[in-house]
Subunit: 674 residues, 3 copies
Amino acid sequence: MSMDKILYGVAYYDEYMPYDRVEKDMEMIAAAGMNVIRIAESTWSTWEPQEGVFDFTHLRRMLDASKKYGLSVIIGTPTYAIPTWLAKKCPEILALTHGGQELYGHRQNMDITNPTYLHHAEIIIRKLMEYVKDEPHVIGFQLDNETKSYDTCTPYAQAKFVEYIKEKFPNIDEFNHEFGFDYWSNRINAWEDFPDVRGTINQSLAAEYRKFQRKLVTDFLTWQANIVAEYKREDQFITQNFDFGWTEHSYGLQPEVDQYAASQCMTIAGGDIYHPSADFLTGKEITVCGNIIRGLKQDNYLILETEAQGNPGWLPFPGQLRLQAFSHFANGANSVMYWHWHSIHNAIETYWKGVLSHDLAENETYRECCTIGKDLKRIGHKLVNLKKRNRIAIVANNEALTGLTQFPTATRDSHGYNRVLRWLADALMDMNVEYDVIPADATLLPNYDCIILPAFYSAKEDYLMALDSYVKNGGNLITTYKSGFSDEYLKVYSDTQPHILHKALGLHYDQFTLPYNVTVSYKGQTSDASEWMEMVHCDTATSLAQFGHHSWNHYTAVAKNTYGKGQTLYLATLFGENTLKAILKDFLAEIACEDTHKADAMKLPYEATCPITVKQGINDEGHHIMYFLNYSKDPQAIRNIAGDAKELLSGATVSINATITLKPWGVAILEYSI
Amino acid sequence: MSMDKILYGVAYYDEYMPYDRVEKDMEMIAAAGMNVIRIAESTWSTWEPQEGVFDFTHLRRMLDASKKYGLSVIIGTPTYAIPTWLAKKCPEILALTHGGQELYGHRQNMDITNPTYLHHAEIIIRKLMEYVKDEPHVIGFQLDNETKSYDTCTPYAQAKFVEYIKEKFPNIDEFNHEFGFDYWSNRINAWEDFPDVRGTINQSLAAEYRKFQRKLVTDFLTWQANIVAEYKREDQFITQNFDFGWTEHSYGLQPEVDQYAASQCMTIAGGDIYHPSADFLTGKEITVCGNIIRGLKQDNYLILETEAQGNPGWLPFPGQLRLQAFSHFANGANSVMYWHWHSIHNAIETYWKGVLSHDLAENETYRECCTIGKDLKRIGHKLVNLKKRNRIAIVANNEALTGLTQFPTATRDSHGYNRVLRWLADALMDMNVEYDVIPADATLLPNYDCIILPAFYSAKEDYLMALDSYVKNGGNLITTYKSGFSDEYLKVYSDTQPHILHKALGLHYDQFTLPYNVTVSYKGQTSDASEWMEMVHCDTATSLAQFGHHSWNHYTAVAKNTYGKGQTLYLATLFGENTLKAILKDFLAEIACEDTHKADAMKLPYEATCPITVKQGINDEGHHIMYFLNYSKDPQAIRNIAGDAKELLSGATVSINATITLKPWGVAILEYSI
Amino acid sequence: MSMDKILYGVAYYDEYMPYDRVEKDMEMIAAAGMNVIRIAESTWSTWEPQEGVFDFTHLRRMLDASKKYGLSVIIGTPTYAIPTWLAKKCPEILALTHGGQELYGHRQNMDITNPTYLHHAEIIIRKLMEYVKDEPHVIGFQLDNETKSYDTCTPYAQAKFVEYIKEKFPNIDEFNHEFGFDYWSNRINAWEDFPDVRGTINQSLAAEYRKFQRKLVTDFLTWQANIVAEYKREDQFITQNFDFGWTEHSYGLQPEVDQYAASQCMTIAGGDIYHPSADFLTGKEITVCGNIIRGLKQDNYLILETEAQGNPGWLPFPGQLRLQAFSHFANGANSVMYWHWHSIHNAIETYWKGVLSHDLAENETYRECCTIGKDLKRIGHKLVNLKKRNRIAIVANNEALTGLTQFPTATRDSHGYNRVLRWLADALMDMNVEYDVIPADATLLPNYDCIILPAFYSAKEDYLMALDSYVKNGGNLITTYKSGFSDEYLKVYSDTQPHILHKALGLHYDQFTLPYNVTVSYKGQTSDASEWMEMVHCDTATSLAQFGHHSWNHYTAVAKNTYGKGQTLYLATLFGENTLKAILKDFLAEIACEDTHKADAMKLPYEATCPITVKQGINDEGHHIMYFLNYSKDPQAIRNIAGDAKELLSGATVSINATITLKPWGVAILEYSI
């Protein structure tokens, strides 16, 4: 979806304010150069204080004041937290989960399959849509917020699951065979005997329930999108605020949502990225999570939430907020919206701080926002709708993630899959190689010169065969341990590993273990193997590194292979990032993908190394835009080797071979007329 | 309450004995120079083996034997653990808590609002009181034991809570506004919709429920006191065995009881202090917790329980038990009573060892008790009712504690408040500056030259204004980060921080973060900032230390200010104790509070440094008593610079300027006739 | 039970196979030199897919194919995991435990006292027995698998417990007195008031419930044995697959089963040993757990399960699988059976890998099995029924284990008892001193020269008196802290500690603490004291080491004593293994047990030190067999000092004083014709 300007703004909640400030706030927001607010998405109990009683006073105030100050509005449906009266009326709306019965209080704790919930959710959505649909400055709608299934395991949800399984497996014996239920006497010999899935020790069943829960999310969002679509104007968009696999911040692929499927019902993909800041700001999350969102609809995307002051410990150093904003734009985002305008005075997010502090006055953060707003007014039209043409794609896949969660490697947590994905993605960013993130969809393979497939645990055969053809026909493939290990139901393939891929990779293994005192060396870069190691035998492949170990050194840790017209690289264990980068550098050079900035697609060369990140694309005018982002507290210098250009923030001309100096956490944006 | 002698004794349980020993035990107790036993407080199922059946055989035996050996008796009501028959009769007496439904077994697991519990508790209290009230050697009564609400969240307790809220907020909209329930759709638009508080994510509600639970304790103890008062003689006291915020030992302010309110119904304050021993004995807990109890009724107090051999790892080195006893007396305690006489042969406190070991014979611990008993017989009348006139007070406050528990700083535990309180209190003790601990009561401020206000998170405006006036009129104030941050319902103040106090402090801040690689330096003492840091701007204040950091060094870590006739000191972060002591030393010198031993009030100078602790007061004869306590395994020497004195333990004369030598863990007590 | 050959084989599950392989598998198994499969023990839902519907198709296939390839069969009853239809029919079969209500899914989660469960279990056992009893190649039966009570706390089980208590204590007052229920008002004054044991804080009650749960296991297995015995032929054995106290592998005595009692109903003892491998393979678990099983019926035993590839991280280095197999035989095992033949393609044990990997093809592990099978065919008759005549026995006791679990020492886990047992047992193995493991049965004492009694917490007086007599009459006793501390109901003895034993030991203590900065030194070997320390006074004993500490050095850490004709050694704390070995070496030398290989019983001397382990015994031909096991990745050499011999694996003659070279993880087996 092409946009006419970059959206820069905040989430706003008149209903949370300690006193009447809506006019003052809108004035300050506009004065900062912001142009949009996002409202309404979490306060059902305010809009409908009692069943059937509606009160849009706060909404009215926000709509009127924003209009007065020329701000656009995104409306969120308020369905991700239910009112007290609804919990009282129908306590079984609160989900039963693996952790037991939910109590009222938290958001996102209801059974999204509960008909009473859906009935009341539909009423409030329709009332809200009717109320706002004709406001000219409402530009779009956000469905719910960070929607999940909230691990619903209610009898209602489980009954739907049994129907879902019966549709997939009309023959119950096939179901038992595929899921291996003979094991430990778990056979389900009649559908009526289906036990509570929460007790299962069968990961095939557990994973399938997770897949079913993801489908519930898709169904729920599609249902909401259809309601909203009945009301919305042609010019208004529908989006969702997707979030990500979470450690103490956004980390990688979201385990609980199939965002590729769920975003089908939307006009534009949106999401929130929260990342470490201050000494720990690296831009890595902005890149990897941004690339995930950009890949959902293969288009520019909205950052609907990101941190201003954020959590304790995230207060940005001077310049960081600005660096972050331009990093999002450099990555293809068409908006940056802070969560949230003002810091909240009560409840669980009191310390998740907005642009303004609790005193609701100008502060350092607000002042830095003003500089960004001012820049965007001046040069935003050069930055909006930035298009990328990346030659490399990382495949991100929920089933693989669930597989590695159900069967974790050495670190017994749920981040095994994202750890591998981040290992590869972060190395690429350090090397200033831009990449897309795509789903495991065979039709997308031809778009790329190189496919990176991290720990593709749970793999359908047709996709593995597509990868085989892709390489045979000249594509290049980088993959890791645990790829092609099981079928889509987590049943381990019972032939040569990696299943099907072993041919393209030119190697196989039949044993594996956990590495202990094992190293991997490549061109002087030695690091410890960790997480997992497969006892790889090279068939046609060439070993790039054997395991460093007294007994396992006859097995291969890293191997490359030529298969048909393509090349492959296999990483049989996890190891240090410097070793990885050395290996990737040579492999990408060999397949001529080493410097995406020199590549035909982009036509613009660049040399840079961490901590300077270079990102580029082509803007609406067909010009090349190149961002230089300094992720460090020290100034950095870099030479413009690509051609004469204009630095957009300063307006200065930068001749070829001139040196650009970046302040600590500084940004430069070069526009080339080519 | 003035007492005629120091009480020295033990908790005694004839009912726990493996065989009949009551005569032998009383003889041994008396032989040790002890003069009191505390009995009856936990064995309801022994006194009332079946509903309405009473059996005071053990009580009779203890009363008779103690009388025979001249021992006084304190009677405890046995209501903190219910009998099996009562649990069987009325299972709902067992509390429903945040952790779920309690099972029978543990003590202190009942719903103290349950009417059936109260009914039966009243019966056993009355029966017991009738039985013992006329015993001449019963000197007082202990209500229940370490009473709490046991986190009762039963429907019964929650209904009372709704009534309590309705009384405070007749207007439900004001309740919603003050508690910020618009947030995440938590509005309670009708009282009938009030959800189970256990699920709440609203800290204002959670904290108010904790406050309500503390009120339940006050109500319960007052109810018991009224019953006991119907029976007790004029000469008999009523007390309670208060305990403290607990880590692996007594640590600081008790979070679950408002001891200031709860002690109103009592004649004398009492408590138990359990502290690390052996290599970890410092006297810090004896001081800080003792000062808390002394402050409850601003009077001498009872140590009703403290460790003899105690828990595994607490076995005192030779001399330590003796040092501990005199430390309590030096602090204003009028009793030391061990929990307990004999080690128990079954159940959960088998290894919480008493004076005697399981073999019930004389041992090292008993022999050390004998030396203390002997000393007390000789000089106890010089030590009893020791009065302190401290010029410095630390404010201890439950609401602030709850605030920092609900919104913890970097260390995500429940000790944030006590950590700050202990940081300040322990520095004072190291500096040999004695202090009182007082509640946040404006009427007490004029009693002190300097008020120390640790992390006063949740602050009523009238108290903040009283502090402002106090400083303006010449009082001195030391306070820290997070003071004045929210109102009494944990709603963050929405104007300049620290709310109201910023004027007296001469500074403000509007941002904060967690320190990482940040230091604080003062006069050569450098240490790491931790827990929290506020971005302080000095208005009229003088910065004593800026943050040591590449980006945050334009903010102030420590500042002092002159405001009206008073001075203030602000600590915007937590840092090392040596840095703190250097800062406090200068500030206290400036306000002439640096050496409380040189102060007019006490008239007696003293110089000492850790590990020698000096404590003093004025005894019943109007003489100054000065204790020298050696908290180390090495001998120490100290010069008597205050005047000619008598060392009470040895009876030796100590001339001015003579040197006193203290043995490892040794004690000297000087009496000055001035 | 004397066997005619060593059993070498695998657990096999036709029902788990992804496709039809039974013929191929049996052929491969036989080709590896294996001779037995174990089948049927966990797939009730396959044998009885619906109530009353039986389907032994898979069983038939396995019986037929195994017969064709000359393999023997062990049949397991499938009762340790219930079918879905049974859970559906009778949900209360799923146990209520300390952790709450079990859900369907896991094995071993039912209430083994539930009559409906027992009814259906009996039906499937009888059907299965009828089906297989006449198969000539079925050689024995395994009752259930790794049976426990699964912590059943159902009302049904608890009612049985009350009956069990009433039988022991017809007088309820005696029950209250013995269990100390006066404490904290826990008295049970009427049987009807008996509370849910899950809430108890009385360790006497908790421990007695654990003892009762162990009795449930004995009763259950005896009940199964009686059913099986109705069908089995004279030549068929009955066994059970006992497992062990578990850390991340088999560790020591099983807490949840009284294996001595439970094995009474069996023909031969069996068990499974899973141990660390690769860099962490030491043979310690094979030895200590093997010695436990051998002690159950004081006879050779079956290893019914042990790892092939095992868990991730356990993949054996080349040679290790072979070393492990011969280590079992060297220890007196008459079988080694791998769990399992093939790696499973679904569910929780997908990564608990068998001989074959998921690709079901020959691999390194299979090839190493083949070498073992080949050796056994050639020399197995020399190795079977190896008899040991050890002079030292370690007493292993469930009640002591439960005591130390209820009252843990410094490390607050449940392994306190096994930690002490392993400390002593592992030192003996390092010293190449072989030992038996025996129950606390006075009649067994005369069989041994030296009894080792680790942490014998909970001790009946008659056994303590038997030990006293044993020493008085010339036996030697080594014991540790916490021995003789409480009676059988965890009531601490109220006289001199260690109760009764203090006389034989010539010492006593009445205090103890946790060691902090405390050391123990003996002949230059200094190490830290840990876990516990008792303040020991020597009476007649000689101190071998005092505690190294500034204040506790007047107490004894290690003492020996002469009592009557015997000697004793007391270890009052836990310390480093080298210090322990130095102490044991001298003590065993003094009592002439230092080198069991030089002892009369065995007549064959040997010198060896870790990592070479020497194990020996007498084979069916009356010849001495001596194993040399190299537990290291480096080659080792050892001199044959015992006499001329034949090395059985190579067939080579080894003259006296010749040097044998052992490969990494290598094995040599010498047969002496003496």
